[in-house]
């Protein structure tokens, strides 16, 4: 995992959300990472658990320090026993769309400086895009994830994208993660920018229907400004071939 090398960590683990409160370790760089992941799941406490609960990156300078033992009375001594010192847990999410947690470990105390944190956060963003792509089935080429899908990447998503995600989740009766996947899939299939698709949804020029049809309403879809792109949803629908219950 390139992330581990970049930030000089000794290991990393990634767990992805399977449901509101269910996470499952999907990736670990080695035995140590696996053990740490499993410890947190079985004990129900640890930086990873807190990162999800407080929706914030958790930095642990030294897991063997008293304040860490105070915060995680069961996990901290167990982790220290494994010679781990520094830990960084970063939620992989956008708004309420929680995809999982990225966790990095070091054998030295106080390992994370500003630059390493920024790198790790950037990796978390990339993982988010990968997970969305994978679940949306829109980008089988993983190397292209995050920039080749015509949505400009997380950094460029604006308020409309998030508002549209909320609207589409109601239109389809699905969660926001799923709604975001559908929006991106629609943008991808129609070769449009996610921002533009989102703006159409917010302006109610485009809506998603549970039966898989996306339609421009308001005036029957004939007077849509981006005419060529909206074929009344008659061709590829936003949910075509996208079964998001699939594996991540």
């Amino acid at each position: 995992m390139a992330c581990v090398r970049t930030v000089g960590a000794v290991g990393a683990g990634l767990s992805l959300a399977r449901g509101p409160d269910v996470r499952e370790p999907v990736f670990a760089t080695g035995r140590l990472s696996r053990e740490l992941e499993e410890l947190q799941y079985s004990l129900g406490e640890g930086p990873c658990v807190d990162a999800v609960q407080h929706d914030e990156a958790v930095l642990v300078a030294d897991i063997s320090a008293p304040d860490s033992r105070h915060r995680w009375p069961m996990f901290a001594p167990a982790a220290a026993e494994l010679n781990v010192r520094g830990i960084l847990a970063i939620p992989v999410r956008v708004g309420a769309a929680h995809l999982g947690v990225l966790e990095l470990y070091w054998l030295t105390a106080d390992p994370v400086d500003l630059e390493k944190l920024a790198d790790a956060l950037a990796y978390a963003d990339a993982l988010l895009m990968l997970a969305l792509d994978k679940r949306g089935g829109v980008s089988p080429d993983l190397n292209g994830a995050g920039d080749g899908v015509g949505d400009g990447g997380l950094a460029e998503w604006r308020a409309e994208v998030h508002q549209a995600t909320g609207m589409v989740s109601v239109q389809l009766g699905v969660g926001v993660t799923e709604a975001l996947i559908r929006l991106r899939a629609y943008a991808y299939i129609h070769d449009r920018r996610l921002m533009d698709v989102a703006a159409d949804v917010v302006a109610r020029r485009l809506r998603f229907a549970p039966n898989g049809e996306a339609e421009g309403d308001s005036g029957g879809g004939t007077s849509l400004p981006d005419g060529p792109h909206h074929n009344g949803g008659s061709e590829a629908s936003p949910s075509t071939d996208i079964d998001t219950e699939g594996e991540v």
């Binding site: 509101p20 407080h54 929706d55 914030e56 990156a57 958790v58 930095l59 939620p91 999410r93 956008v94 708004g95 309420a96 769309a97 994370v112 400086d113 500003l114 944190l117 920024a118 956060l121 950037a122 950094a155 604006r158 308020a159 409309e160 998030h162 508002q163 549209a164 995600t165 909320g166 609207m167 589409v168 989740s169 109601v170 239109q171 969660g175 926001v176 917010v202």
Partner: protein, 253 residues
């Protein structure tokens, strides 16, 4: 506005009262933008903070009008906020029609939206800057030094509010905390979308519904947004006293 203005005293008392344990950050920042608009006699106000990429993102605004939000968003590329953030000092522009090529995208859009004067004040923390406060006016002119000083005090309070308790914070912890605040804002945008669709109201309008419900029931705005997005809470567009009930009730717009 003058320093003797009792509204200033009241605003600071209100803000200080809010900054108690486990406060509602997003609501706190929203109140701060409202008071800033009143006290400085400006038309609109927004708070932008930098994420880990150094990109400025909106966390709170005095109005949720889409056109205004777009103006704030535009400033992750250019504009007074970005300049203020980069130079760590106030930026004053009394007349956007006379700025030439300084902000080729931002200036025309701001004028089109109805704003002619703009100010930005850095949100400082010791040697670093975490973002900027953006002030818009619909009439030409600069703020007087007294107003700027008050604006800077409000900007400093916003910084304290965002970064919370601990006096000495490491840069890394600050970045992590800003990230959390920015994601709260994303969550609120998602919730606005959910409500707009469910109740057939505009996204501009749906923020008010979230906020009324959170205030009425003393819930955190962020938690209300999370419950709305998660389908655990269905709000209706009824008057405040009857508004909102738990998800056992069918959605009834």
């Amino acid at each position: 506005m003058s320093v003797g203005d009792p509204r200033i005293r009241d605003a600071f008392i209100e803000l200080a009262d809010t900054l108690v344990a486990d406060y509602d950050l997003i609501d706190f920042l929203h109140v701060l933008t409202l008071r800033t608009v009143e006290l400085l006699d400006v038309t609109a106000c927004g708070l932008l903070v930098a994420d880990h990429r150094g990109v400025l993102n909106l966390v709170a605004a005095s109005s949720e009008q889409m056109r205004l939000l777009e103006l704030f968003q535009l400033q992750n590329a250019e504009g007074p906020c970005l300049d203020s953030f980069n130079t760590q000092s106030p930026v004053q522009c009394p007349d956007l029609s006379k700025v030439g090529d300084r902000w080729p995208h931002f200036a025309p859009r701001a004028i089109e939206t109805g704003y002619i004067a703009v100010q930005a004040l850095p949100m400082r923390l010791r040697e670093s800057t975490i973002g900027a406060v953006n002030l818009f006016n619909d009439t030409v002119g600069v703020l007087d030094p007294e107003a700027i000083a008050l604006g800077q005090a409000l900007a400093d309070i916003a910084t304290i509010g965002i970064l919370q308790e601990r006096a000495i914070r490491r840069q890394e912890e600050i970045v992590a905390q800003l990230q959390g605040a920015l994601n709260s804002r994303v969550l609120i945008e998602q919730a606005k979308g959910v409500l707009a669709e469910r109740l057939d109201v505009s996204v501009d309008h749906s923020f008010g519904l979230l906020r009324d419900y959170s205030r009425d029931g003393n819930h955190k705005l962020r938690d209300v947004a999370a419950d709305v997005v998660g389908g655990r809470l269905h709000l209706t567009a009824r008057p405040p006293r009857e508004r909102g009930h738990k998800a056992t009730d069918p959605d009834n717009p």
